[in-house]
Amino acid sequence: MKTAFIILASQKIQREILAHEHTLESLDRAIGDGDHYINMKRGAQTITEMAADLAPLQPDAVLNKIGLKLLSTIGGASGPLLASFFISMGKSLQNNNASTLNIAEAFAAGVLAIRQRGKADLGEKTMLDVLIPVSNQFLLLTQQGRDTSHICRSLIATAELGMLATKDLIASKGRAAGLGERAIGHIDPGAKSCQLIITTVCNLILNDE
């Protein structure tokens, strides 16, 4: 993973988020407070604006910087969670050469940070319903030595499944936790945006090849 790739990915992610304004906004309106799109847009924009500052840095420092910046920019529930993800991922990449396995482990470290910060787990109708299966699958396929394009295609599918699975869940974390049965039938906005991000990054790698 190169810094240039991270910067490019952040631009693609921003485009993707902007393109999904209606979806993200509607989902959070349905079972939250309607600001998830705005929060994600604000976060994405700040990161792309940092491109020049990030360019000279090593990937681990870039991720750390992105995390800290998101922490002071997004706010809400997604802010500290995504920030923790990037900060922990950066830390995990500090003293290694960022092999695919290193990246899979760093991703897992990021997801663990989210679990700890949010005191949440699989099945609670949050972004973790995308992130945990993706992280597990990522580690597994890497350990199995699968090639990058296989991994990417698989993670795209896993993210999609996880995202869709939130639809039938009752929420036990986050703003939708108050809704009980009324949350059923709605995809979790954070799960949707994480799926978008993962898909974007994977597609970027796939097209790169």
Partner: protein
């Protein structure tokens, strides 16, 4: 969406600038990160800091001043502020006795304040408010939402801090007031988040959302509009049921504070009308309304609707509710 705004992105800072200009005798506003602090703070007291998403005005900045908050950290509309705001505010107002954060119990607020607390160099503690009883106690919830009862917590804790009490005592009083307070809200219309530009939820001309949150989150259920008496019976029942769950004793002699809070677009005339009903209903259940507050104290932008909050008083809470306060939105005794 018709609102008095210029650009959607500038609403928050323009509104805060207006607030701090209109109350220049009480507060000053800092930018980057944004926080508002009180003038004339004591040099030796627990500093009380609150904050949260904007759109609930006068919460929280309107409660900065003598006898209440020392600082407030405003987030974007309905979005928790970020830890750097809390750190900067703490730096500005700490007065050698530690910092008490008062945080409404939402995942976002909790996590952002928690991260600030972890990074903070000063002694600190946090009171989480969770007075909303709309979300029926159940296995599938992390916690109840903090709503209008937060004002009562801020008032009482602010008063105690002003008297020189230490951090633990302030936290204990905050927790106690929160524990003795229950709220439930009813929406007649949705709010419209300016950046979203359209109503958060659709609601029919004859529908109400019972148990709505102060961000327009869905509540207990969508119901048909009824007369005020019938709506208030349900609200009062929900609160009394919550008091049972909380194991709060309800005896004849019990005195309570009744707060009828408007969500932003409901006129005072209607708020007093439902105050009248709610007070009578509580009385029928042996609860004496010894203190009252009626008005827009914890709003949800331009939502029409109101919440009912009951706080069971004891001598300590009553004393700290009655003590002098001088803020933009609450003022008495000085």
């Amino acid at each position: 969406m018709k609102k008095f705004i210029n650009k959607v992105d500038d609403i928050l800072l323009e509104s805060l600038s207006g607030f701090s200009a209109a109350h220049a005798d009480l507060v000053s506003l800092h930018f980057d990160p944004a926080f508002i602090v009180r003038h004339n703070k004591a040099s030796n007291k627990v500093a009380i800091i609150s904050g949260g998403g904007s759109g609930h005005e006068p919460l929280h900045a309107g409660y900065i001043g003598y006898g209440m908050l020392d600082a407030a950290c405003p987030g974007h509309v309905f979005t928790s502020p970020t830890p750097d705001q809390m750190l900067a505010a703490a730096e500005a107002v700490h007065a050698n006795q530690g910092i008490l954060f008062i945080v409404k119990n939402y995942a976002g607020d909790v996590m952002n304040f928690e991260m600030a607390a972890e990074m903070l160099a000063f002694d600190n503690a946090t009171v989480y408010t969770s007075d909303d009883c709309a979300v029926i106690n159940s296995t599938y919830t992390t916690g109840r939402r903090g709503v209008a009862g937060t004002v009562i917590v801020e008032k009482c804790v602010g008063s105690l801090a002003e008297s020189g009490a230490n951090l633990q005592a302030c936290k204990a009083l905050g927790d106690k007031v929160n524990q003795r307070t229950s709220s439930i809200g009813v929406a007649l219309t949705s709010c419209t988040v300016p950046a979203a530009g359209r109503p958060t939820f659709d609601i029919g001309n004859t529908e109400i959302e019972m148990g709505v949150g102060i961000h327009g989150e869905p509540g207990r259920k969508r119901e048909q509009m009824r007369e005020a008496d019938a709506i208030m019976i349900d609200c009062v029942d929900a609160i009394l049921a919550d008091f049972k769950v909380k194991n709060l004793p309800l005896e004849k002699a019990n005195e309570a504070l009744l707060l009828i809070n408007g969500f932003g677009a409901t006129p005072l005339m209607e708020l007093y009308l439902i105050y009248n009903i709610a007070a009578k209903l509580f009385k029928q259940h042996g609860i004496n309304i010894a203190r009252s507050l009626v008005g827009n104290y914890t709003t949800a932008l331009d939502m029409a609707g109101a919440s009912v909050t009951l706080c069971m008083l004891d001598d300590e809470i009553k004393q700290h509710w009655d003590s002098p306060v001088h803020t933009a939105a609450l003022r008495w005794g000085c």
